[in-house]
């Protein structure tokens, strides 16, 4: 035994012989793949959308309040930091929405072949970009 990592790999096989077994790969040395990347991105966007509900609730509460209160909330959303947050919120919502449908398909037992998982993952990434940009183009035209 040379060091801690090799100590952690020590085990006995069924004959009782000491063997050095590979350790389950740690995140730091695990090659990033579309499957794992999209999975953690689903969590990140979900948590981000949770933070985004602060903006939603502020907007609703302001709409229920006075004109001045609504003007302050609407003014923040239309300001540069507000617009950046709104853009991130749109992208996160579109991604979490599309990847969520991907998860529901898996729950129904569909699309589990690795080729299908990769294809649906790429489709989600492409559609996220397309739909986010499309929503903003429509929004900026209406605005």
């Amino acid at each position: 035994m040379k060091d801690t990592p090799s100590a952690l790999r020590m085990a006995r096989n069924s004959d009782g012989k000491r063997v050095e077994r590979p350790l389950s790969p740690h995140l730091q040395i695990y090659r990033p793949q579309i499957t794992s990347a999209l999975s953690i991105f689903h969590r990140i966007t979900g948590a981000g959308l949770g933070v985004g509900t602060l903006l939603l609730v502020w907007w609703l509460a302001a709409a229920a309040g006075t004109d001045a209160e609504y003007a302050r909330a609407a003014g923040f959303i239309a300001s540069p930091p507000g617009l950046i947050l709104l853009f991130l919120w749109t992208g996160a919502l579109v991604y979490h929405f599309l990847n969520g449908i991907r998860h529901l398909a898996w729950d129904a037992g569909r699309g589990f072949e690795l080729s299908q998982v990769h294809a649906s993952g790429k489709l989600v990434v492409i559609l996220t970009i397309v739909l986010t940009v499309l929503v903003w183009i429509i929004g900026l035209v209406i605005w």
Partner: protein, 132 residues
């Protein structure tokens, strides 16, 4: 092997199967809740984004009037019920995965529940105020 020959021999006791609650004693409630709200949020999110787009830059009075109309208020209430339930279920799993200390995990879970509940109630009261 034909499908008719495939038999599953459960390793759980009959009583355990009837109760269906498993080792965590909470059963599949969390899993179903997450999926049910996810399915509900599919049409509600599409409706919400489209109506937001349609009301961009609208004056306060028009926005409050639109939210206050019965169908819109009901759909918005349905949206926030599903949304905040989905949010608390999702955040619960994230917290349970990443916070390992028993006390810290419980504290953060309770704080998260409180924050989500207060946000939900604020949105709820705001919508009702415009609808009633």
């Amino acid at each position: 092997m034909s499908a008719s020959k495939m038999e599953i021999t459960p390793m759980r006791s009959t009583l355990g199967r009837v109760r269906g609650l498993g080792s965590a004693k909470s059963g599949t409630g969390h899993w179903w809740g997450q999926r049910l709200t996810a399915i509900a949020l599919v049409p509600l999110a599409i409706w919400f984004v489209l109506t937001l787009l349609a009301h961009l830059g609208a004056p306060h009075e028009a926005v409050a009037h639109w939210i206050g109309r019965p169908v819109n208020a009901v759909l918005l209430l349905a949206l926030i019920v599903a949304l905040f339930h989905h949010l608390h279920l999702g955040l619960q799993v994230v917290i349970e995965d990443y916070i390992h200390g028993e006390g810290a995990r419980l504290a953060v879970l309770l704080l998260m529940r409180a924050a989500v509940a207060l946000l939900f109630l604020t949105a709820f009261v705001a919508i009702l105020r415009m609808a009633l």
